[in-house]
């Protein structure tokens, strides 16, 4: 028996979908039939490329640029996403920045920026998206956490804090929104090969790979598959869960 995931007729917003994991998620959701709203901080060539790829594959998508550093922009992003099809079924809070810095040497501005982009913008998005989803008494919100937010690691205090915050938000929102038919879950990727992780120092890179049971970095598509599951009706009775997608990584 084959299982088909059908998201046709649904609108999905994927923040930060020009590159890496967000891009892979956008492709997966569009491939399953959803109308995907692609988002980037600006209308970049990379975003246009994703738009063209989805279109060429017969999928449907729109592009909205918004600076997640501004809460008003987050609100506009959600409202405009809703306006695309007069509904919002899936919200994937993927946009994020990787922030490295040892304790005692991380600038305050960097901490604020990390929390603003990775956590605060996602909370603002959830607030508005949940209200829109209440109209149809259904919806799925998927937050992109990180194994760093679950287990921690040296040199990423602000990043780990932002991702741990998302885990708490996921658990709380899942309980509050369950009576409204809205599910909230998260995936916690381990070490995934993206532009973001390619910038890591070599010794950190080697150390991370050594701690992975499957002895390789994950692919963005492998995270996207877990998100697709959580976004679809296959997980209709699943809420408040954090799914690790980490190949058995130990940090």
């Amino acid at each position: 028996m084959s299982i088909e995931i059908d998201l046709s007729g649904r609108v999905a917003l994927v923040t930060g979908s020009s590159r890496g994991i967000g891009r892979a998620i956008a492709h997966r959701l569009a491939g399953a039939g959803a109308h995907v709203v692609l988002h980037g901080s600006r209308r970049s060539a990379a975003l246009a490329e994703v738009e063209a790829e989805i279109g060429a594959a017969g999928g449907a998508c729109s592009v909205i640029a918004a600076d997640l550093g501004e809460i008003d922009e987050v609100k506009r992003l959600i409202k405009e996403s809703f306006a695309v099809g007069k509904r919002l079924d899936i919200l994937v809070n993927n946009a994020g920045v990787l922030s490295e810095g040892v304790i005692g040497m991380t600038p305050d501005d960097q901490i604020r920026h990390t929390l603003r982009i990775n956590l605060e913008s996602a909370l603002a998005a959830m607030q508005i998206a949940a209200r829109l989803m209440m109209r149809t008494k259904s919806g799925s919100i998927v937050n992109l956490g990180s194994i760093m937010g679950m287990r921690g690691a040296p040199g990423v205090m602000a990043y780990a804090a932002s991702k741990a915050g998302l885990v708490g938000a996921t658990l709380a929102a899942a309980k509050e929104l369950a009576p409204n038919g809205i599910r909230v879950n998260a995936v916690a990727p381990g070490f995934i090969a993206t532009d973001m992780t390619r910038g890591l120092a070599e010794e950190i890179l080697a150390k991370r790979l050594a701690g992975i049971g499957m002895q390789r970095a994950g692919e963005p598509s492998e995270v996207a598959d877990a998100v697709l599951f959580l976004a679809s009706d296959l997980s209709r009775y699943v809420t408040g869960q954090i799914i690790g997608v980490d190949g058995g990584m130990v940090v």
Partner: protein
């Protein structure tokens, strides 16, 4: 139905009745958030969603916090539809 840009209060009453399961003889002027048994914080969000759907508007978070009575709701909805 909107007429001449003026918000239809009866339409809003219908939304309130359905969302909060109000009795026929409800005293609108006395209907206040957290005082009426069904108008809890959770009920409030469902009510807001119902109003937004009916009038095809979106409130700001501050509006939702300010929506403390039926009369206040009339005022806030009017602000968006006028």
């Amino acid at each position: 139905m909107l007429t001449g840009g003026v918000m239809d209060v009866e339409r809003l009453k219908t939304v309130f009745r359905d969302a909060l399961d109000l009795p026929e003889d409800v005293v609108w002027a006395e209907l206040r958030y957290s005082e009426y048994p069904g108008w809890t914080s959770l009920g409030h969000m469902s009510l807001v969603a119902a109003i937004e759907t009916e009038f095809d508007i979106m409130f700001d978070t501050d509006d939702i916090i300010d929506m403390s009575s039926f009369d206040k709701s009339v005022e806030l909805v009017s602000k968006h539809v006028d």
